[in-house]
């Protein structure tokens, strides 16, 4: 766990130190705390990339400025699980260095003990979000 960005590692600790019911509660809180899109994306949704692997529509944007990654997500209120997954990645990765984000292992979404609480089938959405974030960071850093 030591290679993960600190906020992401803390979230994993939070999730895995409680039982499945409380994990859902944490996910619900992250869904509620997911920031709204800033106007520059809200007004131009075409700038966002759709993550087709999510069961509900989810759109994301990635910016890398001076080596720091900023993440933006948009998903409907009726899709709290998808929003919760986005909330995990926002809390865990927003503001981290491009290098650290690229270093996050692809199977990290399975470290939260959520597969057991929400079923493994529903985990692909978060896996897909992470891989798209990493791909965009890679492209923008010319790596």
């Amino acid at each position: 766990m030591s290679d993960l960005p600190a906020p992401l590692a803390e979230l994993i600790d939070d999730f895995t130190s409680v039982g499945p019911k409380d994990r859902l509660q944490l996910l619900l809180e992250l869904n509620e705390e997911l920031p709204a899109l800033p106007a520059r994306y809200a007004d131009q949704p075409g700038l966002l990339e759709q993550v087709h692997e999510c069961q509900s529509p989810l759109f994301l944007a990635v910016e890398v400025t001076d080596g720091v990654v900023r993440l933006f997500f948009d998903a409907p209120r009726e899709a709290p699980t998808t929003r919760g997954f986005a909330g995990i990645l926002h809390t865990g990765l927003d503001g981290q260095s491009a290098e650290d984000v690229l270093g996050v292992p692809d199977d990290t979404p399975f470290k939260f003990g959520l597969a057991e609480a929400v079923s493994p089938l529903r985990m692909r959405g978060m896996v897909a979000m992470l891989s798209r974030i990493k791909r965009q960071v890679q492209e923008q850093t010319g790596g």
């Binding site: 859902l24 509660q25 996910l27 619900l28 869904n31 087709h52 692997e53 999510c54 069961q55 509900s56 529509p57 209120r77 009726e78 899709a79 709290p80 699980t81 998808t82 919760g84 609480a117 929400v118 079923s119 089938l121 529903r122 692909r124 959405g125 897909a128």
Partner: protein
């Protein structure tokens, strides 16, 4: 004792009006504190219940409560009894199920409860969206139930569930594919905007009629009238009420919705849901597959 059927005139025309309730009826029962009624919410999104639900309702997760965790099958009678008991449901309890997406998962849960022969299980017409659109009460309070004594009932799959072998034996007889046109023709391997759930081949089971599930509902998510449903399934598609029909989709949830329409709203006595659906058929070796648009 199960409750009397919702007497609303708009339900009376259906073959089995006792299988459907209106939001008005449910609100009245909840206001008057009717006993022996339990409301369940079953959604695609597992957190939706936690964001707010009909007061007093319990969550029923099709995946973690109704599916066996190891085998691709439903839970057995022992686990089902536990799931019911935890929600205070007895064998004589009237159960009303509602959910998101025009009741896809609610219909699926109702169908699974039918496999266990639960006598009185009904759908809330219009589901979660209809209740919310009317600004009826929602709460985040999760109720606790006095555990009930639900009997261990052996699941009876035969009458309403079809397996792959049943479908093979059924080829040439009426089948309804309720997926989107792109999935039916073979152009798409999964629902538009949904994850690919691993079918190797696209297309449909030969001879199946293409009737996307959503054609059975109005824009507000409530079921269409009996006359409109007859026009669709009987006039347009040529199905007859005494036909032996198999319905399928991708994993059996959207087709539960159509199973409900044919069985309970139109009164077809022999309708089976093939829950293996395209995720099984599209991966099976040497089963016949047809490509292309529906025949006119």
């Amino acid at each position: 004792m199960s409750l009397p059927a919702d007497p609303s005139p708009q339900l009376a025309e259906f073959a089995h009006p006792e299988r459907l309730v209106t939001t008005e009826w449910l609100a009245e029962q909840l206001d008057s504190g009717t006993k022996d009624l339990v409301v369940l919410e079953s959604d695609e999104d597992v957190l939706l219940y936690d964001t707010g639900h009909i007061p007093g309702s319990f969550k029923l997760d099709w995946h973690t409560d109704l599916n066996d965790p190891v085998t691709r099958d439903f839970v057995d009678g022992g686990i089902f009894a536990k799931v019911m008991s935890e929600r205070g449901i007895g064998r004589d309890t009237t159960v009303v199920i509602y959910g998101d997406k025009s009741n896809w998962w609610a219909a699926y849960a109702l169908w699974v409860m039918t496999l266990f022969g639960h006598p009185d299980v009904r759908l809330l017409d219009g589901g979660r969206a209809a209740w919310q659109a009317e600004q009826r009460p929602m709460t985040q309070d999760v109720p606790t139930a006095e555990p009930s004594d639900y009997p261990v009932i052996e699941r009876s799959d035969g009458p309403v569930r079809a397996f792959r072998a049943d479908v093979l034996a059924h080829l040439g007889r009426p089948m309804v594919d309720v997926r989107s046109p792109g999935e039916f023709s073979g152009e798409l391997l999964h629902m538009p905007d949904y994850p690919q759930e691993g079918a190797i081949r696209g297309g449909h089971i030969p001879g199946a009629k293409s009737v996307p599930w959503a054609r059975a509902v109005r824009e507000d998510g409530r079921f269409r009238s009996r006359a409109e449903l007859e026009q669709l399934y009987q006039e347009e598609q040529g199905l007859a009420t005494d036909d032996d029909v198999i319905v399928y989709c991708r994993i059996g949830e959207r087709s539960s919705h159509t199973w409900f329409v044919l069985s309970h709203l139109l009164g077809f006595p022999q309708v089976r849901n093939y829950d293996g659906s395209w995720t099984e058929w599209g991966n099976s070796v040497r089963v016949p597959v047809e490509l292309g648009e529906p025949h006119e």
